[in-house]
């Protein structure tokens, strides 16, 4: 839901800045995502995963372009241009995205991370941790559903169902309702023990430890024609068990649950699948997973995982915490003077964000500083400066000789790009 209100945009920026700061702490480097790209650059991908919601247009030369709808694809293209293989990269971005939906053009801001590299357990764990932490920046009522496409596909392959039946099962899984299958001709002659297997499959979601136990029991019920499938399933379960132990070490396990019935909408996911929810928001705010195959589509094999969250949804269903602008000064004089200008320029060169204004009363000055989230207010008198620290609620009056050396920057003001 796009808002043109200044306050909404400021809130959006504040959320964006919090998220980018979080990703920077984990070593993610911000990149710019193009607003539109030539359709020809994704023609092979378009054939495999055609999109009904992509917004396309033609330029004056007749070339077809599309508006940005999936920044992950743009990031993949950037990596393709690099000559290195098996790249280790950690990238974050924010980008407006555009899709057709309900007969209108929808614009949403997506913020996401992508990680590339060989250590899939570590990267999967980090992606999950960042997904939960991203949502927890704004609310405690968070739930991250974690699935595994590889586990689901191997499980279905091991079960006594043909490909048509598997297609129908996969279609029914999102609703968690097995009863719809009983109505189909395809399932009229299914044995009762096979219905039991299906019933167990449809219940493979919930708290991690319980689902892992149920998954193990389901595997034990299957008669495997190919032992390798059982080995694969046990291996995946063990990896998930290990990962869950690490999630517990992060104190984040309680914000996650396993859901082996999760089947992502985009077919290029090949392992981990994520869907993040916050209370009171009717749909998921975060989607992600592992998509090693996608980079192969761009001609370069690369292990890849990531997620994107829809900032607009997050904004509409959470409260934005007020962010103090670090290293920000509001310099106030009763009348504009050379002294005020000199100090403003001096502190700007030192790296502070400085706003120079005139004022009438001290109360008005403090109210303005609080409203605009300044860190400090400085009131210039004839012989002294009064420094008011808004956050610490602390006031100090000092002669200019002391004031000149008083303020130091705590960290450099970082560019938003």
């Amino acid at each position: 839901m796009k808002s043109n209100l200044l306050v909404s945009n400021q809130n959006k920026y504040a959320m964006q800045a919090s998220l980018m700061k979080l990703y920077a702490q984990y070593g993610y480097r911000q990149v710019s995502i193009p607003a539109c790209e030539p359709l020809a650059t994704i023609s092979e991908l378009e054939k495999q995963y055609p999109s009904r919601t992509q917004v396309k247009f033609m330029d004056q030369s007749g070339e077809i372009f599309y508006l940005q709808d999936d920044p992950t694809v743009s990031v993949m293209k950037m990596l393709r241009l690099s000559s290195a293989t098996n790249i280790e990269q950690k990238i974050c971005y924010y980008a407006p995205t555009y899709k057709w939906g309900h007969r209108q053009l929808n614009e949403e801001t997506q913020i996401g991370v992508e990680t590339f590299g060989k250590d899939t357990l570590l990267h999967d764990l980090e992606i999950i941790v960042l997904a939960v932490k991203s949502l927890r920046l704004f609310t405690d009522k968070v739930m991250l559903d974690i699935g595994d496409v590889s586990f689901l596909e191997t499980l279905l392959e091991s079960m006594p169902f043909n490909s048509e039946q598997i297609q129908a099962i996969v279609k029914a899984l999102p609703s968690k309702n097995m009863m719809t299958l009983k109505e189909l001709e395809l399932f009229q002659n299914i044995k009762s023990q096979d219905w039991d297997l299906l019933a167990s499959l449809f219940k493979l979601f919930g708290p991690t430890e319980i689902v892992l136990e149920n998954a193990k029991q389901l595997i034990d019920q299957i008669t495997f024609k190919d032992e390798q499938l059982q080995v694969k399933l046990d291996t995946i379960l063990n990896q998930i068990r290990d990962r869950s132990a690490f999630l517990k070490a992060y104190d984040l396990l309680e914000y996650t649950q396993l859901d082996f019935t999760l089947k992502p909408e985009l077919k290029y996911y090949n392992g981990l699948v994520l869907k993040g929810f916050i209370k009171n928001c009717p749909s998921e705010v975060l989607n992600g997973g592992r998509y090693d195959q996608l980079s192969t589509e761009f001609g370069k094999a690369n292990c890849a995982a990531g997620f994107a969250l829809t900032l607009d949804l997050l904004m509409n269903y959470t409260e934005v915490k007020k962010m103090t602008r670090k290293n920000s000064l509001l310099l106030l004089e009763t009348e504009l003077s050379a002294k005020g200008i000199k100090y403003a320029e001096y502190y700007r060169q030192k790296g502070f964000e400085v706003n120079l204004r005139t004022y009438e009363t001290e109360k008005e000055a403090i109210d303005l500083a609080s409203k605009e989230n300044f860190e400090k207010v400085i009131l210039f008198g004839e012989r002294s400066a009064k420094v008011i620290d808004i956050r610490k609620d602390n006031v100090q009056k000092m002669p200019y000789s002391t004031f000149d050396q008083y303020l130091t920057i705590t960290d450099a003001n970082k560019s938003i790009h």
Partner: protein, 196 residues
């Protein structure tokens, strides 16, 4: 326990559930919101139940599967009810019509119809769908059949039963994650009734 909101289709479904929750007196009033313990029941048009649940305004709802499928929205389907069972069927004059070949189908359910008959042309009608083949607007109709009386009285007959329809308890996926205890309590209460 936090309150949850339950969207009920006005008509037979609302009657059945208000009785199940001992809130029958609401049947005689025009109230659209009825509070029963920690459940806020809202009475809505059947076609609007998916909208309320999809938007999270209602945590759960009960409505026919035909409405759910036609809405195109995705929910958890937690319970099916055996009452008011009927079928979505193809009906017309010609029992030997080739259903695999392209034809013109009149229906209130264009989305569902397109899924089962992708080669056919679909004409949307809001009601009295049986008129369409009679007046040569379509070859056949795709519509709900209960007893078949309406079809018979208009000279039509069922050519093929396509999909069984019954009321389903749906839940908003996000709501279910944060209100699972309350929603499961409602399901247990309904299961204990046994008469739904």
């Amino acid at each position: 326990m936090e309150s949850i909101t339950f969207a009920l289709s006005k008509g037979r479904i609302a009657e059945a559930f208000l009785k199940a929750f001992d809130a029958e007196e609401a049947l005689n009033s025009r109230k659209l919101i009825v509070q029963v313990g920690n459940i806020k029941m809202i009475m809505v048009k059947p076609v609007d139940v998916p909208t309320y649940v999809a938007n999270g305004v209602a945590d759960i709802g009960v409505v026919g599967r035909d409405v759910i499928l036609e809405s195109g929205e995705s929910f958890y389907e937690l319970l099916e009810f055996p009452f008011s069972k009927c079928t979505l069927s193809i009906a017309g004059f010609d029992q030997n019509i080739n259903l695999e070949a392209p034809m013109t189908i009149a229906t209130k359910y264009p989305k569902i119809c397109k899924q089962y008959f992708p080669l056919s042309k679909t004409i949307y009608l809001n009601g009295s769908v049986e008129l369409a083949p009679i007046l040569n607007l379509s070859d056949v109709i795709f519509d709900i059949v209960e007893t078949g009386t309406t079809l018979k009285e208009n000279g039509l007959s069922v050519i093929k039963d396509v999909l069984s329809i019954n009321p389903v308890l749906i839940a908003n996926k996000s709501s279910y994650k944060f209100n699972q205890a309350q929603i499961d309590a409602v399901i247990n209460q309904l299961n204990e009734r046994g008469d739904l």
